[in-house]
Symmetry: C2
Subunit: 92 residues, 2 copies
DNA sequence: CAATGTTACGATACACGTAATCATA
DNA sequence: TATGATTACGTGTATCGTAACATTG
C-alpha cells in the first residue's frame, strides 16, 4: 500500500472512470489500472465493478473510500502542521 | 512522502536510535537515514536533533509524530474494514 | 577500538509511458 | 470505428545493502 495508490483510488472512485482520473492526476491509464489492481490484490477484495461505461464502487470500495480520504486529509494536516511549527520557531 | 518513510520516522522517534529502529523494521541503517532525510527535506523542517547517543525529537518532529501515528492507524483501520466488509459478503 | 549516524556506489526492483490487446455497441 | 479497461514490454528512476567515512569517548 502506498499513498500514490490511495490517491489513485480516490480519483477513480470520484470520476467513475480511469481515463478522466488519469488526466486529473497527470498520468496515463495503465499505471492507474495497476494501482487499483495492486490495492485490490493487497486488500484481498474487489473494490470496483468494471462496467461498460467505466468503474463503479463495490461495497468494499465504498468502505475503503472513507478511510482513504481520511488518510489523505491527515497527510495534508501533517504537512501544514509541521510547516507551521517550524515556521513559527523564531516568530513567536 | 510515503507510508514507508512515515513508518521509519515513527520507529526512529520511538527508539531514539537509528540502529535499533532499523532492526525493528528489518532494514539496515542507511535507508533509514535516507528516509528521515527525505522527510525533513520534503517538510522543510528538521525533525530530529542528532546527539552523541542517538536521535532526539525536535518540536517539528513531535508535531509530525502525532499525525504520523494517526496516518498509520487509519491505514490499519482501512485494511481491517475492507477485509471485514469483503469477508462478510456472503456470511451474513 | 567501539558505538553512533552519514555518504558513496553498484545491483536490483519498481513504476512510468508507448504500443498492442480485449470487450462493448 | 469509437470508447472503455487491461496487458506486454522497454527504459529510467528509486531503493536497497555493502563498504567506506566522519564523529565521539
Amino acid at each position: 500500500m502506498s499513498l500514490t495508490h490511495i490517491q489513485s483510488f480516490v480519483a477513480v472512485a470520484e470520476e467513475c472512470n480511469v481515463s478522466r482520473a488519469a488526466r486529473r492526476l497527470h498520468l496515463t491509464q495503465p499505471p492507474l489500472t495497476r494501482h487499483i489492481q495492486a490495492l485490490e490484490d493487497e486488500l484481498g477484495a474487489r473494490l470496483f465493478e468494471r462496467t461498460r461505461g467505466g468503474m463503479r464502487l463495490l461495497p468494499a470500495g465504498e468502505a475503503f473510500l472513507c478511510h482513504a480520504r481520511r488518510i489523505l486529509a491527515e497527510v495534508d494536516a501533517a504537512l501544514l502542521t509541521v510547516r507551521d511549527v517550524a515556521g513559527s520557531r523564531t516568530g513567536g
